[in-house]
Structures are given as structure tokens and as C-alpha cells.
């Protein structure tokens, strides 16, 4: 039976949205007959070091990350740089490689250039590319109870199960889990109307008020004269 290593590349570590999603992929993998995967958090020094070693030992690696400024977080890029010696090993010596990219934006389009980079990265290692799970709206996972996301969890378990059975994620399931690729003209028109409604800002406003920072919410400390 193939071994699976799940790498959580979120700087938030265990409490991250990336980990919440990765955990469901793991459930599907086990349900599909795979052995319990090893889970490592790059945000921890020990987890990072172990992840460099695990890459050389695993049959399959899934690297999950949040989208930071429309690319990978610096933490993930550090990990990729640490793996540079693995580009020199013989063909077939590196694990099959897949990815999970989740972002706070609702559309998958924000993550596509990174997906292209990750696909090339798999080629750089001579690895079998098993696919990239792209999902928008990730920050909402922090706001909503787990039971409200059951449809997403089911999609992710299915992808994990496919990985165990077929050795890769299904193309149709990847399209489905991505949700909105880009908003239609009608949806955009609606979004322009609702984006300024208080309900759209309640998450941020609630935290600003809780932290006593509400009055400072439009602060522009590095160019005070240019404040909006």
C-alpha cells in the first residue's frame, strides 16, 4: 500500500483552513483503503525539517497552502527551496505530488497562476502530478460551524478516496470543488451592490470592535497625508 504524507503549508498551523480541508482529504484516503497518512505542519520547525525528509520517503505527497498575495506563502516557498537537492535525483525517485490551494476570495481564478506554477514544480521533480485542489471562500470556514460545510467536506473526502483508488484526483471532481471560476456579469453586478452592505463586513467589523480598533479601521500610518 502506498504511503501518503500530507503537508500543511499554512502559517497558521493546526488551526488553519488548509488543515480543515486537508483533514477531509485524509478521511477519504483512509475510507478508500489507504493507510493512515502522516500529517506535518510546515509552520513548526520540527514539522518543516521532518517534511523535507518525508518528501524523499513518501510515495505520495499532498502540499496544502492558503493563497497569499495570489501566490504561495513565503513559508511554502522556503520549503520548496529546501527541496532543491531533490531535483537532481533519478527519475521516479520522488513521490507523486499533488496540491491544495485555498483562498479567501470566492473565485478560483485568483489561484490559477499558482496552480500552473505547482504543475511545473511537479515536473521539476520528475514527479507524477496528481492534481491541484483549488477552492475559494476558505476564510468562511473559520466563521461557519463545520456542519454548514458538509457539501465541501464530502467533495474533499471523494477526492481523497479517488487518490487512494486511482492515484490521482478526478478532473470532474476538481472542477466541482473549485466552485465559482469567475463571476458572471449578473453576479458581478449583484456583488457591486451588496459588497458595501454591513452584512458583508460583519466578520471584519466584529473583530475590529472586539479589539477596540474600530475607530482606527481606515488608518494609513505610512502616508498619513494620503489617507482616504
Amino acid at each position: 500500500m502506498n504511503s501518503l504524507v500530507l503537508l500543511n503549508g499554512s502559517p497558521r498551523g493546526e488551526r488553519s483552513n488548509s488543515m480543515k480541508m486537508l483533514a477531509r482529504v485524509a478521511e477519504g484516503w483512509v475510507r478508500g483503503g489507504g493507510q493512515e497518512p502522516e500529517v506535518l505542519h510546515l509552520a513548526h520547525r520540527i514539522g518543516f525539517a521532518r517534511a523535507v525528509k518525508a518528501f524523499a520517503q513518501a510515495d505520495t505527497v499532498i502540499l496544502a497552502m492558503p493563497l497569499y498575495t495570489d501566490s504561495m506563502p513565503a513559508l511554502v516557498k522556503s520549503y520548496i527551496e529546501a527541496l532543491q537537492p531533490r531535483t537532481a535525483v533519478a527519475e521516479g525517485e520522488n513521490p507523486a505530488l499533488g496540491f491544495l490551494v485555498q483562498s479567501g476570495f470566492p473565485e478560483a481564478s485568483h489561484s490559477r497562476p499558482l496552480e500552473r506554477y505547482l504543475q511545473k514544480l511537479a515536473r521539476r521533480f520528475g514527479s507524477l502530478y496528481v492534481g491541484t485542489i483549488v477552492r475559494g471562500g476558505g476564510e468562511s470556514l473559520q466563521m461557519m460551524p463545520d456542519r454548514a460545510n458538509e457539501k465541501l467536506w464530502k467533495q474533499l473526502r471523494t477526492l481523497g478516496e479517488q487518490l487512494a483508488h486511482d492515484g490521482c484526483f478526478g478532473a470532474e471532481e476538481l472542477r466541482a470543488v473549485a466552485g465559482i471560476e469567475r463571476m458572471s456579469a449578473l453576479t458581478l453586478a449583484l456583488a457591486r451592490l451588496v459588497v458595501n452592505l454591513p452584512i458583508m463586513q460583519f466578520y471584519w467589523n466584529g473583530m475590529l470592535k472586539k479589539n477596540g480598533a474600530w475607530e482606527l479601521r481606515f488608518a494609513a500610518p505610512y502616508a498619513p497625508a494620503a489617507k482616504l
Partner: protein, 183 residues
Amino acid sequence: MRISILNGDPDPSTAFQVYVHDFAQRLSASGHAVTTLDLREFNLKGCSGCWGCWVKTPGECAKRDDSATVCRAAITADLLLLASPLTMGFTTALLKRAADQMIPLIHPYFVVEDGEIHHRARYAKYPKLGLLLGAGGDCDAEDCEITTEMWRRMARDLKSQLVFAAVSDRSAQEVADEFARVA
């Protein structure tokens, strides 16, 4: 023009270091006010996704490090030039660490821009972005293209646009001449 250069090469002994500083001198000689930040000399702890810069200390990272210097250099410039060798097909983790810690420059509220949801501006004016990539290593033209596309999107996140992208496979003077034409 006020130009801030973020040099993301972690190795002080490379040819790219020499190239970046040579390029900066040529920009200065053309009359620009150039500030070069060698990021390897800065204490940047990296973004931990805590959102403190949006909901606790709006506009500022709560970490005690040098990210405020980077943010100030970025937002007060007319053009922010991101310089980095390509490693494993992308700009360095060092440059990315600085970029991740620039999110205090935008606001958490959402807006619709360019047909997508984005974050709202915090400042009235943002610098234009430029990209200077170090050639060589194991990276090819496709890597340059992918990297440029990702930074083009990063520019959009920063309420800006990528107006210049070049690779250090030409002389610094040639690249400076191109910069003068397009930036």
C-alpha cells in the same frame, strides 16, 4: 521618480547582487531618487495569517520586526521594483516574505475590481510595480512567464499594475534603457 528596490537575493556574493546595485546606480544617474533595501539585512518574521494588521492594529503588522520599513518604502515610492533571482521557478522566499508582510497596505473590506472580488484600498495612491529577475540556474523562459504572471496578480492585489518586467540576461544599461521607455 521615487523608486524603492526590494532586493530579495539572500546571497551577498552573487553576480545578481552586483547587477541590482549597478542597475540602481544607472537609475540614480538618470535622475531618479532610488532607495535599495537588501532584504537579507532586514529582520522579517513573515506573515502568520493572524489578521492583526487588519483588525487589531489597522494598517500595521503587530510583529516587532522591520516590516514597517518595507511597507513605508513601498507606499511612499512612485515605483516599487522587486528584484530577485529565480529559485525553483519563482522569486525567492525572502522576497515573498516581504510581500506577504505588505498586506497592511490594503484594507480587509471587499470591493469588485477588474471583474473579481478584491480587497479595498487603504491608501489613495499606490506605487507602480516593476520586476527584475535574475537569470540562470535551473529556470527557463516558462518560469519567467509564470513568475511574471503571479506578480502581475500581486500588483492587482496592491491596487497597482506591473509596468515593467525584465531578466538580467542583458546588460544593466540595456535594461535601464528599457525601464526609461516603459516605466
